[in-house]
């Protein structure tokens, strides 16, 4: 555990970057520092590897004061990932990744073998090993940055806005990849970002900081969304925190209807049997069960469904795996107002109406509130 104890950073000109900060960073979890620029989040991160020394207060790792060991030994025990990756442009990808193992005295062959292993782990093609950074895209460079930080298998990973400079699609991919890696590796990750969505998505614990280096709230993301400590945190979370909070409720509890689902090769009798007053539309799937689109029952002609005239089905959600937010999103996007539930293979498992999703949200919130009461 990294313990930050009454840490203050005051610069000679009087600016206070971090003001009497105390918090415990749990092991094997992702702790995110988030806040507007000038809130001291990067300063805090850099005090952990002593790139910045605190003016007062102590930082300990597993009870040991970090100032009690040689600074470079401390730093080599912590991976560091930075915005724009900060790769060594004059070294090949494999040698970039091998940097810390080489510093630790590994021989070249072993360090390179380890680097290649990590390239695979972070999803980089082995053919990139001998390339130079300029030959890689921003997203690939960031993956190299992560691999380089992991090279010597440090217990701690410090990440300073690592995904801020890549476009949103790539960023989402890198975030998912980080979560997957974390499942495998279980590092103690300290992550700095200004993006509250990123914080809520990847954080096990989120520390919201405000300008002047004050800690506004330190809580798991779900709690942050349901019970912001004050107006600042609430504003920072944004207007749609209610919707975002749905990300923390599983869609598993939704009751799916299977009746309004017909295969494209269904007979007229089957279609007639499926049609009912409650469900104004039927979802047509192909023979493998993949969704094709919605149709009004009386427009369906058995054996000859005109797939080009089907209504779009929006974005299906993976039942049980994705959250109520995805289910609600699916229902809102579908012109029929019904969300399509699929299994991991994309095959339809049922449909659910906006009303039913709304029901589930109300239930989840009620349970969430009672949970919080129990927890509090």
């Amino acid at each position: 555990m990294i313990r930050i104890d009454s840490v203050t950073k005051r610069y000679p000109d009087g600016t206070v970057a971090v003001d009497n900060l105390s918090l415990d960073i749990p092991d094997r979890a992702i702790t995110v520092f988030v806040g507007p620029s000038g809130c001291g989040k990067t300063t805090t991160l850099r005090m952990i590897n002593r790139m910045i020394e605190p003016s007062s207060g102590t930082i300990t790792i597993d009870g040991k004061d970090i100032t009690k060991q040689p600074v470079n030994t401390l730093r080599r025990s912590m991976g560091y990932v930075i915005q724009n990756a900060g790769l060594f442009q004059h070294r090949t990808i494999v040698d970039n990744i091998a940097t810390v193992p080489r510093l630790l005295g590994w021989d070249k062959a072993r360090a390179r073998a380890r680097a290649r292993e990590l390239m695979e782990r972070v999803g980089l093609d082995a053919s990139l090993a001998k390339r130079y950074p300029y030959q890689l895209s921003g997203g690939q460079q960031q993956r190299v940055g992560v691999a380089r930080a992991l090279a010597a298998d440090p217990p701690v990973l410090l990440m300073d806005e690592p995904f801020s400079a890549v476009d949103p699609v790539v960023r989402k991919g890198l975030q998912d990849e980080l979560l997957r890696l974390q499942d495998e590796l279980g590092k103690t990750i300290v992550f700095v970002t200004h993006d509250i969505d990123e914080a809520v998505k990847i954080g096990t614990m989120v520390a919201v900081m405000r300008t002047g280096g004050h800690l506004a709230q330190f809580a798991p993301p779900a709690e942050l969304l349901s019970a912001p400590a004050d107006g600042f945190v609430e504003d920072f979370l944004g207007a749609d925190r209610g919707i975002r909070r749905l990300s923390f409720f599983s869609s598993a509890g939704l009751d799916l209807l299977t009746a309004p689902v017909v295969a494209v090769d269904a007979t007229a009798e089957q279609i007639a049997a499926r049609a009912s007053k409650d469900v104004p539309y039927l979802l047509v799937t192909d023979v493998d069960g993949l969704p094709l689109g919605w149709a009004e029952p009386d427009r369906l002609t058995a054996g000859a469904v005109d797939t080009s005239r089907l209504l779009p089905y929006g974005r299906p959600f993976v039942h049980g795996e994705e959250s109520l937010r995805a289910a609600l999103d699916g229902a809102v996007l579908s012109p029929t107002g019904w969300a399509v539930a699929v299994d991991a293979g994309g095959r339809v498992t049922g449909v659910v109406s906006q009303q039913a999703v709304g029901e589930a949200i109300r239930t989840a919130h009620a349970e969430g509130r009672s949970d919080e009461k129990v927890a509090g």
Binding site: N49, M51, V71, N72, T73, L74, R75, R76, M78, Y80, I82, Q83, N84, A85, G86, L87, F88, Q89, H90, R91, T92, T99, V100, L103, Y132, P133, Y134, Q135, L136, S137, G138, G139, Q140, G145, R148, L158, V166, D167, P168, V169, V170, K172, G173, G314, R315, D329, L333
Partner: protein, 236 residues
């Protein structure tokens, strides 16, 4: 042997190729020494920002001193020797090297330095393993200018008594009224400069395989491509 294209008057006590060798030595030794001296000066200027403007000023003023003035002062100490010619050349090279190295080292992106520091590279390792290699193209660019100008400047050494290597031929060409000697001097110097410059370009290419070059494939764009992006936008 008389009448040969490369025959040299006996007062120079050297063959043409001997003069070429001498010319190279007188031109390149000061450049090498200048580079070695400039490295620590430049590093000081990078570390202590306030030092850079005065250092730049001093090197520029030194550059403005005519070589003849240098010779007059130096002759009392080093006599009519090669050293007297080489000292001003070495001093002149500083005006090129110091800014080239400072700019090169400063061109290393802050995040690269931060990453190096965070990975536990101390100041010495950071300098030799990160800053200097990344500054290499700028340093070699400075080296090219310093080398070419040094090769052309050596000729003035003839003023202090036949210490100008190929430049001595200019003088002999005049007193013996032989334009052949003048051509040998001028073309020889030019060829040396061009060849030395070409070699340095080659060195640059060899030591910086990491630099983007014209004609290579452009930097790849991140997958996933437009289709995925459009899907993401559509469902956002």
């Amino acid at each position: 042997m008389s009448g040969g294209l490369f025959d040299i008057p006996s007062d120079l006590q050297n063959s043409y190729w001997g003069l070429v060798g001498l010319h190279l030595r007188e031109a390149l030794v000061p450049v090498a020494v200048g580079l070695v001296v400039a490295l620590p000066i430049a590093q000081l200027c990078v570390r202590l920002r306030w030092l850079y403007p005065p250092v730049l000023w001093v090197t520029t003023v030194l550059y403005a001193i005519p070589s003849l003035a240098f010779f007059v002062v130096l002759i009392d100490y080093t006599g009519q020797t090669e050293t007297t010619v080489m000292i001003p050349l070495g001093v002149y090279s500083l005006v090129v090297f110091v800014p080239a190295i400072v700019d090169g080292v400063r061109s290393v992106p802050q995040e690269t330095l931060d990453a190096a520091t965070a990975m536990g590279l101390g100041p010495v390792r950071r300098y030799f393993q990160v800053q200097l290699p990344i500054a290499a193209p700028a340093i070699i660019a400075g080296l090219r200018i310093a080398t070419v100008s040094s090769i052309s400047l050596v000729s003035v050494g003839m003023l202090i008594g036949n210490q100008g290597a190929l430049g001595n031929l200019l003088h002999d060409g005049q007193i013996y009224n032989q334009s052949r000697l003048i051509w040998l001097s001028v073309i020889g110097t030019a060829v040396l400069a061009v060849v030395a410059d070409a070699l340095l370009v080659l060195v640059r290419i060899l030591v910086t395989p990491w630099m983007p070059r014209g004609g290579r494939a452009p930097r790849p764009v991140d997958e996933p491509e437009p289709l995925t992006a459009a899907l993401e936008d559509a469902t956002r």
